[in-house]
């Protein structure tokens, strides 16, 4: 693993916001598919 420059709060914020975004994307995509399945299989 290459050495890196010193950390900043912006680095951490980018990491956290990516994680929130990934979680939200999975949640919303899953919900949309579930609703679509419910409609199709109704």
């Amino acid at each position: 693993m290459p050495s890196r420059r010193s950390s900043t709060w912006r680095d951490a914020a980018r990491g956290v916001s990516f994680i929130v975004g990934l979680g939200l994307a999975v949640c919303v995509a899953g919900l949309v598919i579930a609703v679509a399945m419910t409609v199709v299989l109704a």
Binding site: M1, V16, I19, G30, V32, A34
Partner: protein
């Protein structure tokens, strides 16, 4: 016919020397809860930690003095050390647990220690809610040590090792010396963990205080929750796990911490370097996002059909939390274990089993088959289908993005599918052994076996303080195999075979 060389006394000495260092480290890990025990006036726990630490330090120091060697560590030695470190580490780590008197026998304490060091989170402790603060903290600290330990091992050893090992581990081989790589890797890992410790513990502290906890208690729970969530361990300070808190804020923070824990450190590195596009293009991110979305859709659909929850909020708090807990291989629960099978219908628990089997990303503390292997297995399938459909003379090339554009090689495909198959076999063996006792049906034993083999920790009740000893032993081995993803265990087996049957090297 290939000739295998028998390892010499020097090799065994080298392995013993580094195992001693592992025990020294474990001894120091025990000193932290010992200090807490002294401050909290928990004298029995304090003495248990002092005895455990003394044994670790004595054996560690003896091997340091008697087996000292300046020989260079190779990746083959490293693999054997890793496989043995998790075994011997669990046995020594079990000593304070056993002395706490909260376990039926020493095997139960070893099971708990293995569960901690492999970041599984299954527990066979008696009366968790009334255990001492220091003993509970020790369980969580062991998870942290085991979790951070495996990431260092993966990044500095599995990924940096010989080409064959690296392929089996689905990473690019780097021919680096282990130790410098090891130190740099360790520094970066603790850097990331430190940042998340501050962010996550603060958020959990605020959430717990808002939920009515006193500041002191909130801090204790927040630290423990961070340790078990970020390291995707899943131990909990209360028997009711996360449902004890009845707080949506705590659940959201724990969820985000679990997602952070399941992201590979390679991608953490890319993220922190300011390269989110690289993270989004990575095969593992895409596989994890797509499969998690589909599995969550199945959970939602199953829960809607079974009518278990009637509000979207409960669907999210129960369904999505459990999915994240499963796919990240953490094992935190917001339900009482058996209700996953009794109240959730058929489809939702099946999706959870699928999520547990797959697990999170490689090079993280997550367990299971790993998203990268699932992604490569899918690419392999697509590759083979294209080869069938195209004319025989056509050259079929399949590529994927992992750090850079890579061509799918046959060895990578074979290695990914082999490990995938080994995981499936392990799940089935665990399920069948539990089935032989005649107390549980196949859905229960399969759920529990996948949870154990993938180092998840969600339990529907097969694992309990009074479970049969042999089953406990099988589960302990499953946790060990799953954590080391078979790679290091194969190296150990190869080493043992060459010790017995190898030809002595000409000197």
């Amino acid at each position: 016919v290939t000739t295998i060389l028998r390892p010499g006394a020097d090799d065994v000495r080298l392995i013993g020397f580094y195992l001693g260092k592992v025990l020294l480290g474990l001894g120091f890990v025990m000193l932290l809860p010992a200090v807490i025990a002294l401050f909290a006036a928990e004298w029995n726990s304090a003495s248990a930690f002092v005895i455990g630490a003394s044994l670790c330090v004595t054996v560690g120091a003896a091997s340091d003095a008697r087996l000292f060697t300046r020989r260079q560590l190779t990746w083959a030695h490293g693999m054997v050390i890793v496989a043995l470190a998790w075994l011997i580490g669990a046995i020594f780590a079990a000593i304070p647990l056993y002395l706490s008197g909260r376990f039926s026998d020493f095997l139960s304490a070893v099971f708990e220690a293995m569960s901690a060091l492999t970041t599984t989170g299954m527990s066979v402790i008696h009366d968790l809610d009334h255990t001492t603060l220091s003993m509970d903290f020790y369980r969580h600290l062991l998870q942290f040590a085991g979790g951070q330990g495996i990431v260092i091992v993966v990044l500095s050893l599995f990924a940096a090792g010989g080409a064959r090992i690296a392929t089996l581990y689905v990473s690019e081989a780097r021919d680096e010396r282990i130790l410098p790589n090891f130190i740099r890797t360790a520094r970066f890992i603790f850097y990331v963990a430190g940042a998340f410790l501050i962010v996550s513990t603060t958020a959990l502290f605020v959430s717990l205080v808002a939920a009515g906890f006193t500041p002191g208690r909130a801090l204790y729970h927040a630290v423990n929750l961070f340790l078990s969530s970020f390291d995707t361990g899943g131990f909990s300070t209360m028997e009711a796990s996360i449902s004890y808190y009845h707080s949506a804020a705590v659940e959201v923070v724990v969820m985000l911490t679990m997602i952070a824990g399941t992201i590979s450190f390679g991608l953490h590195f890319a993220l922190w370097r300011g390269d989110p596009r690289e993270v989004l293009r990575h095969l593992e991110t895409r596989t994890l996002a797509i499969t998690s979305s589909l599995l969550f859709a199945a959970v939602c659909f199953g829960l809607l059909r079974s009518g278990t929850y009637d509000t979207p909020e409960m669907l999210f708090r129960k369904g999505f939390f459990t999915l994240v807990s499963a796919v990240s291989s953490t094992g935190h629960q917001v339900n009482v274990g058996p209700t996953y099978l009794t109240d959730w219908g058929v489809l939702a628990p099946a999706a959870i089993v699928g999520a547990m089997a797959m697990g999170g990303m490689a090079s993280s503390t997550a367990g299971g088959i790993k998203a990268i292997r699932v992604g490569i297995a899918f690419k392999t399938l697509m590759h083979d289908i294209r080869r069938i459909l195209l004319p025989e003379a056509a050259l079929v090339v399949t590529s994927y993005h992992a750090g850079k554009r890579r061509i799918l090689r046959d060895e990578t495909s074979r290695a990914a599918t082999t490990v995938l198959l080994l995981f499936v076999v392990t799940y089935l063996v665990g399920a069948v052994v539990a089935l032989a006792y005649g107390e549980f049906d196949i859905t229960e034993t399969l759920f529990e076996s996948v949870s154990v083999g993938s180092n998840i920790g969600i339990s529907i009740g097969v694992v309990s303080p009074d479970m049969p000893s042999f089953l406990m032993l099988v589960y302990t081995v499953q946790m060990w195999l799953g954590r080391l993803e078979f790679v290091a265990v194969f190296a150990l087996l190869g080493y043992i075979i060459s010790l017995a049957r190898g030809r002595a090297a000409a000197s």
